[in-house]
């Protein structure tokens, strides 16, 4: 195995493009190094992107935020403006693993690892976040939702990598929330999860809502019907019931060591409902 720590995006892209497969990108390493140890990943080349300018920064851009691909989750929680604008995404990032893991893990890595249970991805999807992707032909921007391909898979080409993620500008009276279910209070992989992103109209009703579910399908799933069920409501029981039904209908989970099909479907609905109320309250909504 070869280890490289390029200084520029172009150099990293060149390394990945020219690499004898398989090559892997190293950001926080909290998935990759575990996979290397267990033999699941046996890369011939590891490209550490942390020394590329900008990859470790969170910057304001067009009213939104650009988060470098090597920003550790803990740094997101220390960024006051980001926390204020996207509390759900930040809380999701700060649920990944332990304090120690959050000191290294990145949401870009969380995305690229391709797990349907990735904690930060439902929030990114509900937020309409985009990823800036570098490859041999330069950079391109792509909605996060379009990167998801299946368990452990993304739509990125083998010689592409995520340089940063972009969270768009927020109108007033907008907020998000993320909840996941795990058997313990910390340290587990989500058994089911839900992120809700709402924008309120001037009258305090929901103008726009996006609901994304994790760990209940081969990829994180944006449930458009669930978001639509909330629009126009003040999170009354009727709207929440309809949203819950839509969420459960969108689930196609598996039975595994972490949970059963029935459990995941039921709990996804419960979490979406609770997350919707939190997001609504954060946005200043009154039921």
């Amino acid at each position: 195995m070869r280890y490289e720590a390029p200084q520029t995006v172009e150099e990293a892209a060149r390394l990945l493009h020219g690499a004898p497969a398989p090559a892997r990108v190293l950001a926080g390493g909290t998935d990759l190094i575990v996979q290397m140890r267990s033999g699941v990943a046996e890369p011939a080349l590891v490209v550490d992107i942390k020394r590329i300018a900008g990859t470790r920064e969170i910057v304001a851009e067009d009213g939104g935020f650009r988060i470098g691909a090597a920003v550790p989750c803990a740094a997101m929680g220390e960024h006051a403006a980001l926390c204020a604008a996207w509390p759900g995404i930040v809380e999701a990032a700060n649920l990944i693993g332990s304090t120690q893991v959050q000191g290294r893990a990145t949401i870009a890595g969380n995305l690229c690892n391709g797990s349907p249970a990735a904690d930060s991805v439902p929030g990114l999807v509900a937020a309409g976040a985009t990823a800036r992707i570098a490859g041999p032909g330069g950079v391109r921007d792509c909605p996060v939702v379009d990167i998801l391909a299946g368990p452990g898979r993304t739509t990125l080409a083998p010689d592409e990598f995520v340089v940063s993620l972009f969270l768009p500008a927020r109108p007033p009276h907008a907020a998000d929330a993320y909840l996941r279910f795990i058997p313990r209070t910390e340290m587990d992989i989500a058994v089911a999860s839900a992120a809700v992103n709402v924008t309120l109209a001037g009258d305090g009703s929901v103008a726009k809502a996006q609901v994304a579910l994790g760990a209940v399908a081969p990829t994180v799933r944006l449930v458009e019907a669930a978001g639509e069920a909330l629009v126009g409501s003040r999170m009354d029981d009727g709207a929440l019931d309809a949203m819950t039904v839509a969420c459960r209908a969108a689930c196609s989970p598996i039975d595994d060591k972490r949970g059963t099909v029935e459990f995941r479907i039921h709990v996804a609905g419960v979490l979406a409902r609770r997350a919707a109320l939190i997001a609504f309250n954060r946005a200043g909504g009154r039921t």
Partner: protein, 747 residues
């Protein structure tokens, strides 16, 4: 057993909380654990393990691995002897498979190479030709005739004919007329329970460093609960003389019973013997889960009858345990412990062990008791609920006490159960209000406690300070307790005593640190060794003073004239006696070698409040209080620590910990990610109430405290969850999917 006098006296140092002698080493990173030692020229060992639950080994081809640059040796089952003794033979087969692999993770070969990376690469080059066989994972399935047979010819004579060859043993305990007892009951509840296999989960994986020389001498450094056990076992597996194998116990990073046997130690020795170089073997966490001892998993039926007033009229339990791929006697202990907390006229327990394609069971803290008592205490709670009775009052009314004929046979001597129950009743926790979706549960717990072979040498330095040499690895602070007892007995400050755990060449055979035996047995031997030393010191002083040894007495760390008739002499302190020792007959030491008995059984009661989320089935432990009789708490902080640590292991067992197998018979969760031990944020404070009802079998009244605390949490939590959820849970762990399913089924 010696019945000791004056065990109830006032102590000056016993009962205080001084700093432990190994504290600074452990907070500075200096303490040396199993994997922390290296040797010049050292090789690294790695073990190849079976990917199959059950398969015949047709052949093993190690030639390609041996040919890899940097590989120095490969061993397989053929490199280890098969001792006559059945238990040792099973250990040998468990350390390295012979003709069959018996579980996913069973060792089949090992390599020694110049680096871990080369060793790992070499494992991939070992070619094993397997004939995969049908497997069986579940104890009830394994007992059915026609089930795949794990090993042939392993059944004891006590197993009736016609059963599956997987059934290795049967036992039955109890007394009285069950039918008459059940007939007297106003309500009989009968339930079936299941408990998953759990792992001890010590944070330090097994690790060792072995060095064998060509003249048959060997040294081994390892983390173990008993280095003498390691010596005897490894010597038998390798055909060495025990005396030529010196085993040094490193600091040990937890054991809980799981380090009372060997896994990689004989393998490292065999590789070292083959290469003539030191060999280090360190297990990965995955290997620890796949190949070292979990508990038995169990399937249990319990039937109990009770009168309307809360008197238990009869109790019956059928326990089916599986200790993995080998015969296992843990069910014997479960069957004896099941009803130990009760004074019953009619009680009967029946136990069965069946082999399954799982790793060989290793003891885990009160082995066999938590499962059995969980089932019994769950049914008692259900009876109380159905009959509208207070569960503590019912336990008090039926509690075993001095003079009770125990359910397992003997009549109880002084036991602390009743006092413990009454302490729980008087505690504010018991009457604190509960909110919606909250429930309170309680359970009694019991463990036998053991003594065993124990050696202590107490050497007096010329300045009058004291070195104690003993042979039991210190897992939870026992060196502090032993130093305290020595200081108390001699009447010198705690700081003037240093206790060390010596290697196998430096002290006599000492049994493993198990059975809650160390503070009891090593403490007893230490006190006796101190008394031996004091006798010698009294003799020396008497000679100096020219009076009879009977005319002097030991008091407050000095020899005094026994009375005014003895003469007028200034007392001689231990330091003065030590300084004069070269002139009075030479060095002074005290010894005690004993197979200690009289450990005295132990009871505890746990109280817990939980909240269950009816929408997710998730349980939050809100409040937890442990009540336990310690006989005498020598170092109360470490007694509390045992109570708290045991309770939390039991909480993990009750709520989340389990071995999960796939249809292919492979373990699906061999890591701390999905084998979910409790983390700090899962837990409330664990309150402790120590009772001290002195044990007459120990000079200071000590009872073992280490194991009992893991017993009650299973039922205490199950009873609390069942009350909070409004539905009786009968399977452990009570993971959220299981609890939610029960809540949704309840409607």
């Amino acid at each position: 057993m010696t019945r000791y006098e004056r065990i109830d006296r006032k102590f000056k140092q016993v009962g205080t909380r001084p700093a432990r002698p190994d504290g600074v080493d452990k907070v500075t990173g200096r303490a040396m654990y199993g994997a922390d030692l290296t040797a010049p020229g050292m090789l690294w060992a790695k073990v190849l393990r079976s990917p199959h639950a059950h398969a015949r080994i047709r052949s093993i081809d190690t030639s390609a691995a041996e040919a890899l640059e940097g590989v120095k040796a490969v061993v397989t089952g053929a490199d280890f002897s098969l001792p006559e003794d059945e238990a040792l033979r099973d250990v040998s087969v468990n350390c390295m498979a012979r003709d069959k692999v018996l579980y996913d993770g069973h060792a089949v070969a090992a390599v020694a190479a110049v680096s871990p990376a080369v060793a790992k690469a070499a494992l991939k080059l070992v070619k094993v030709d397997y004939e995969v066989l049908p497997h069986v994972i579940d104890v009830d399935e394994a007992m059915r005739p026609g089930a795949p047979v794990v090993q042939e010819g392993r059944s004891y004579e006590n197993v009736p004919g016609g059963m599956s060859a997987n059934v290795t043993s049967h036992c039955e305990f109890g007394h009285g007329d069950l039918d008459a007892g059940f007939a007297r009951a106003d309500l009989v509840v009968e339930r079936s329970f299941r408990t998953a296999a759990t792992h001890q989960g010590y944070i330090e994986p097994h690790a060792c460093l072995a060095a064998v020389t060509t003249d048959g001498r060997a040294d081994l450094w390892c983390c173990t609960q008993g280095h003498f056990m390691v010596r005897e076992t490894c010597a038998a597996l390798l055909g060495l003389d025990s005396s030529q194998l010196r085993v040094t116990a490193s600091e040990i990073g937890g054991g809980f019973g799981g380090k009372t046997t060997v896994f990689v130690e004989p393998v490292a020795l065999a590789l070292s013997r083959k290469t003539g170089r030191p060999v280090k073997a360190v297990m990965s966490r995955e290997e620890v889960f796949r190949a070292t001892g979990p508990t038995v998993h169990a399937s249990i039926d319990v039937k109990i009858g009770m009168t309307r007033s809360g008197r238990i009229t009869a109790g019956e339990a059928h326990l089916r345990y599986s200790g993995g791929a080998f015969p296992c006697a843990t069910v014997d202990m479960g069957a004896q412990a099941a009803f130990a907390a009760y004074d019953l006229d009619a009680v009967r327990t029946f136990g069965w062990n069946a082999m399954t394609n799982r790793p060989k069971e290793a003891p885990y803290r009160a082995p066999g008791a938590p499962q059995a008592i969980y089932a019994v205490e769950s049914v008692v709670d259900e009876l109380c609920k159905e009959l509208g009775l207070d569960p503590l009052d019912v336990r008090i009314a039926n509690a075993a006490r001095k003079g009770t004929r125990s359910a397992y046979g003997p009549t109880f001597d002084e036991i602390g159960l009743l006092a413990t129950l009454e302490a729980a009743k008087a505690h504010p926790h018991y009457t604190a209000p509960l909110g919606p979706n909250e429930g309170r549960g309680l359970s009694c717990g019991f463990w036998f406690n053991f003594g065993g072979n124990t050696c202590v040498t107490m050497n007096l330095a010329l300045d009058g300070t004291v070195a104690i040499t003993e042979g039991n690895p210190d897992i939870g602070g026992s060196r502090a307790s032993i130093s305290l007892m020595a200081a108390e007995e001699l009447g010198i400050p705690y700081e003037k005593v240093r206790t060390i755990v010596a290697d196998t060449a430096s002290i006599g055979h000492s049994d493993v640190t198990d059975g809650s035996r160390v503070t009891f047995s090593v403490g007893l031997a230490t006190i006796e060794a101190a008394r031996d030393a004091k006798r010698k010191m009294c003799e020396r002083v008497a000679r100096l003073w020219g009076i009879d040894p009977e005319a002097v007495e030991w008091r407050d760390g000095a020899v005094h004239p026994a009375g005014s008739n003895a003469g007028r002499f200034a007392p001689m302190t231990i330091a003065e006696i030590a300084a004069a020792s070269p002139n009075t007959g030479g060095p002074i030491a005290g010894h005690h070698e004993v197979n200690a008995d009289g450990a005295g059984v132990s009871f505890g009661v746990h109280l817990v409040d939980v909240k269950v989320d009816p929408d997710t089935g998730s349980t939050t432990v809100l409040r937890y209080t442990v009540f336990q009789d310690a006989g005498r708490a020598v170092h109360p902080s470490y007694v509390e620590g045992q109570m708290q640590g045991g309770a939390v292991q039991g909480i993990g067992w009750a709520l989340n910990e389990e071995y999960i197998y796939g249809a292919d018979g492979r373990l699906q969760n061999p890591g701390f990610l999905d084998y979910r031990v409790p983390v700090a944020s899962d837990l409330p404070e664990i309150d402790t109430v120590i009772l001290e009802i002195p044990n007459p079998g120990h000079p200071y009244g000590v009872r073992g405290v280490g194991e009992t605390p893991i017993v009650p949490p299973l039922a205490a939590i199950a009873n609390a969850v069942s009350r909070a959820a409004g539905v009786r849970l009968t399977e452990l762990p009570m993971s959220p999917p299981r609890v939610l399913k029960a809540i949704l089924a309840r409607g």
